[in-house]
Point group: C2
Chain length 316, copies 2
Amino acid sequence: MDSFVAGVDIGGTGTKFGIVDNLGNVLSSDTMSTRGHADIHAYIDELHDKLMLLIDKAGGVGRIKGIGVGAPNGNVYTGTIEYAPNLPWKGIIPLAKLIQDKFKLPVKLTNDANAAAVGEMTYGAAKGMKDFILIALGTGVGSGIVANGELIYGHDGMAGELGHTIIIPDGRIHPGTGKKGSLESYASATGVAKSAVEILNNTNRPSSLRTIPIENIDSKAVFEAATAGDEVAKEVFEFTGRILGISLANFVMFSSPEAIILFGGLTKAGDLILKPTREHMEANLIEVFQNKIKILVSHLKESDAAILGASALMWE
Amino acid sequence: MDSFVAGVDIGGTGTKFGIVDNLGNVLSSDTMSTRGHADIHAYIDELHDKLMLLIDKAGGVGRIKGIGVGAPNGNVYTGTIEYAPNLPWKGIIPLAKLIQDKFKLPVKLTNDANAAAVGEMTYGAAKGMKDFILIALGTGVGSGIVANGELIYGHDGMAGELGHTIIIPDGRIHPGTGKKGSLESYASATGVAKSAVEILNNTNRPSSLRTIPIENIDSKAVFEAATAGDEVAKEVFEFTGRILGISLANFVMFSSPEAIILFGGLTKAGDLILKPTREHMEANLIEVFQNKIKILVSHLKESDAAILGASALMWE
């Protein structure tokens, strides 16, 4: 009798969960708010009620190999989430143990980008690869690094924070960390909007973006303006791709991956961001790495990807 | 009966080799010029003549488990050295096979910094660690990265070129690679000399270094001036430590190592470089990594370290 795994992806706003078979089919899924319960036990009670409906439909807990959980600041070694700034529960939360006790099933927890990397390796663009890096370009920049066929967790479980690497010393300040010039300050949805606002505020250059109230400018507006040919918006993507490309070159010179898999909202900008990214990555690589590292965009269905990634931890 | 390993370290100028026991004692060693033979076969003939003397003294080939070789641009997967700019043999040289055929012993080849990392893990400051990064600060900047207890080789065997990561986009040009703003352009013996010359050429600031012909200024002269209190020379080390510290922060946010082991000539500057390095590393780390990553200086005897590192490949 086939067995299945459950995947739970805890995001800052919503939690997605579902049942997955070993071919990567999401058999059933549902969502709930992450922010509905200030008390973690009440949150887990609701998750239990809703996820058990799916588990029962799949044949009961006997058919489920375990529950994989992806969460911001999730630590695979301790099963805890630690000081996650975007979650309602503060301090160190023993999430894996709480879920395990409630469901009486094995639980494996890691951060969301690591989970996405395992998902790509198990079901997606990195299938069969032993060395690759996943970069999640969303509101922030997350990353999961696979080398020698294994996720790099580091000595404390916290490896793979490439969004916080410094690419422009003394550059733009990151409001969350207070650090200056990190990749995430530039190559995220937030960073793209900020780059546009900077040009609009600091120059008199004409731009269709000037018709939008400055506080409403987001990466989607910049994307639409660039697609319509707006020069300022196009320059924002060129600049973002340059920062991202130099950073990717640095990551390549670290672990020499077969491919870099890009994932998340910003990849929807397509060649607007991918072309300058590729170009500046190649221009900053030393010869031995040139023209052999693939930049791939994740092809997992976005609504399924988070659940697939989390669930794949249990096949690892 | 105990068995031993042989280690061969091929540097740009000299080749060191020796016999090592499993406790990391160098039982015997010798050197030869790397540049004596334009023909690789003649070079290997000389290495064979000289190393066999040591092997025979240790009890003959029957006592030798194999030969570990560290060489610039050495590729562990193919056993070749590839386009090494500082070696007399051009193109791709099947070095491991040539040595293996000559000695009739197993041979394992990797680049010199990876070999040094294995040496630190087997005999040195990284003993017992599963996650650390070795940075070799010499004429250039080499690196070897260990994660999950294994060297990171990457998909093509060429991982760990941290000296070529870009830390100041559009910064100082690297004469060897043509790339701008790489770590090696600043945090190497060459980089230290260049930083001093830049200040002397671009300012009128008084400095004891002005008594030295500009083309004779090297990192040793800058070190001596700094030790004697020269402000320009002290600023050079502060600047170098800042660049190195930001880079180390980036490496930590990649693989979250337990420690970074510094190795090579520049470490002799002691706190002149270590203090600003530590300070700027901490200042650029996000909170979760702060105050827990050790920066250690290799304590292996410098004359032995290269041989130990290469030989340790055979215990791996």
